[in-house]
Amino acid sequence: MLDTVREIETPEGVSLRLRAAGAFGRAQAWLIDLLLRAAFFFIGAAFFGVFGKGGAGLGMLLLFAITWVYSVVCEVWFGGQTIGKRSMKLRVVCADGTPVTLIPSVVRNLLRVVDALPGLYGVGLVCTMIDPSARRIGDIVAGTIVVHADALPAGSKVPMVPSQLLPVPLDPDEQAALIDFAERAGHLTVQRQEELADILVPLTGREGTAAVTQLTAYANGLLGRP
């Protein structure tokens, strides 16, 4: 349950990774939408107010549109993102990773009525906490999922140092771990880098900063650099 990544096998034979968005980010997106819609409604109502009583009718139509229509239109015709979701870099997609279509979007937005019970999305919140993919009831019924839409921070490059060959052959996942270490070392403190590198004393025969450099050199070798 800690892992919120869903792997979807596509017809092309590769697996897509959908990273489900949790309750907190979605609540923020909802709040942004709510504020935007409220502001939009008040501006619209003030504008229609000029037309007197007929304007009140237009104001009511506007209220209808922003309550029931806004989310569906945004999700179906603007890539699964309302303005709030766009600013939080979230996206609604079908459970198989394809863009959301009209009927699922209608279902998930109509069922806000149930999710919003007993006020302030109580049911929805509990449901997102129980469900492994953080779906609320509307999402489960509609077969949709809210995912993070931003690109993962691209793994930083392994620092360039003259490469060295490994003294002993390593398994593929051991090699991958070595390269991962070299890629991510930049994000760690020097002490942590050394602590991790010291685990591999049997391989490098060194300790401290020297061990880190040595491992980076091996990683360069594995990547095929000169």
């Binding site: 092309e12 009718g57 279902v107 109509l110 069922l111 509609a142 392994v158 095929g224």
Partner: protein
């Protein structure tokens, strides 16, 4: 092949595809005119292949994440829903929706009973014991109804407000009720049953009270026009809610989640159809029903014609061979 060589060999193609996909998000028309469009399927397949290779060979995140992102963008474009078409909306309203209503006739029948039986019962009860109206509505509500349907009122059915204002109000109010009726069906159908019965009692209560105090004529003259669309739409939304709730209680030979999803698909389309009907009803209610000058023949004649139209539409819509789904 080592990772660096692999990247050096293919990076150009990845960047080109990624650039084109990003352009497709921002300026779809310009992107579709460019010659890369023709290469997209082939290029996308190759990048998918590269991703598989990169994963199988254990290349680092730097490469796999990069490819993953391109594949995600491509997947989103390749499997995007078809663009909406007007004729689809028309076939939905003329053929698909009536068919769906007939297909779920049992639920529609149940919803009809749940709406009309309390309504008629309340109506009859109020003819017999008119004072019961006071236990159903508050004094202010009763005064409001009496003012709305006062025979001397130039605009029947409202105490104040212009046509446009009432149109907005009817849309907001009635469509909201229909949508909530469907959605609250999820609570084992209880929500839908409650909304239908409560609306039935209120309808019967208002009609019964006004009839008992002698304001019956303006009331019937008002409601006859739009009731064909409005009441039928409420019944359909209620039926949609009932079948939704029942799919959770008795999923039949499906898993509950699957049964619920299928019922939701049906229910959402029924709710969309009810939405269209209620827009129609609100239009009639605001602009036609409220006219008090017209003679009875026109009022009741048009009301009967609209009921007949709704019945014909729902009974025969989408029956022909041309509509074979």
């Amino acid at each position: 092949m080592k990772q660096e060589q692999f990247v050096a060999l293919h990076a150009e193609e990845w960047d080109a595809l990624r650039f084109w996909l990003a352009q497709l998000d921002r300026q779809p028309k310009a992107a579709l005119r460019s010659e890369k469009t023709v290469d997209f399927p082939e290029s996308y397949r190759r990048v998918c292949h590269h991703l598989s290779l990169a994963q199988a060979r254990g290349y680092s995140r730097e490469v796999t994440d990069r490819l993953q992102h391109i594949v995600e963008m491509g997947h989103r474009q390749l499997y995007r829903p078809p663009a909406p078409r007007w004729y689809k909306a028309a076939t939905f309203l003329l053929a698909e929706f009536p068919r769906l209503v007939r297909e779920n006739w049992r639920y529609m029948l149940a919803a009809t009973v749940l709406l009309y039986v309390p309504a008629i019962a309340t109506y009859v009860l109020l003819q017999w014991r008119p004072d019961l109206a006071h236990s159903l509505f508050s004094a202010t509500q009763l005064k409001e109804f009496e003012k709305m349907y006062d025979p001397s009122n130039p605009k029947i059915g409202r105490s104040s407000g212009t046509d446009l204002q009432m149109f907005g109000y009817y849309i907001m109010n009635n469509v909201g009720i229909a949508f909530r009726t469907f959605a609250s069906g999820l609570l084992l159908g209880v929500g839908a049953i409650y909304v239908l019965t409560a609306n039935g009692v209120i309808m019967g209560g208002v009609a019964g009270h006004l009839n008992a105090i002698g304001y019956g004529a303006p009331f019937w003259r008002f409601v006859v026009g739009h009731s064909g669309f409005e009441l039928t739409a409420i019944v359909i939304a209620g039926g949609a809610g009932l079948q939704f709730g029942l799919s959770l209680l008795a999923p039949g030979r499906l898993r509950r989640e699957t049964a619920l999803r299928e019922a939701a698909w049906k229910g959402a389309r029924l709710a969309l159809g009810a939405f269209a009907m209620l827009v129609m009803a609100a239009f009639i209610e605001a602009y036609w029903s409220s006219m008090s000058m017209l003679p009875d023949v026109v009022k009741y004649g048009s009301g009967a014609a609209i009921w007949l139209l709704v019945a014909t539409w729902l009974t025969f819509g989408g029956r022909g061979r041309n509509h074979a789904a």
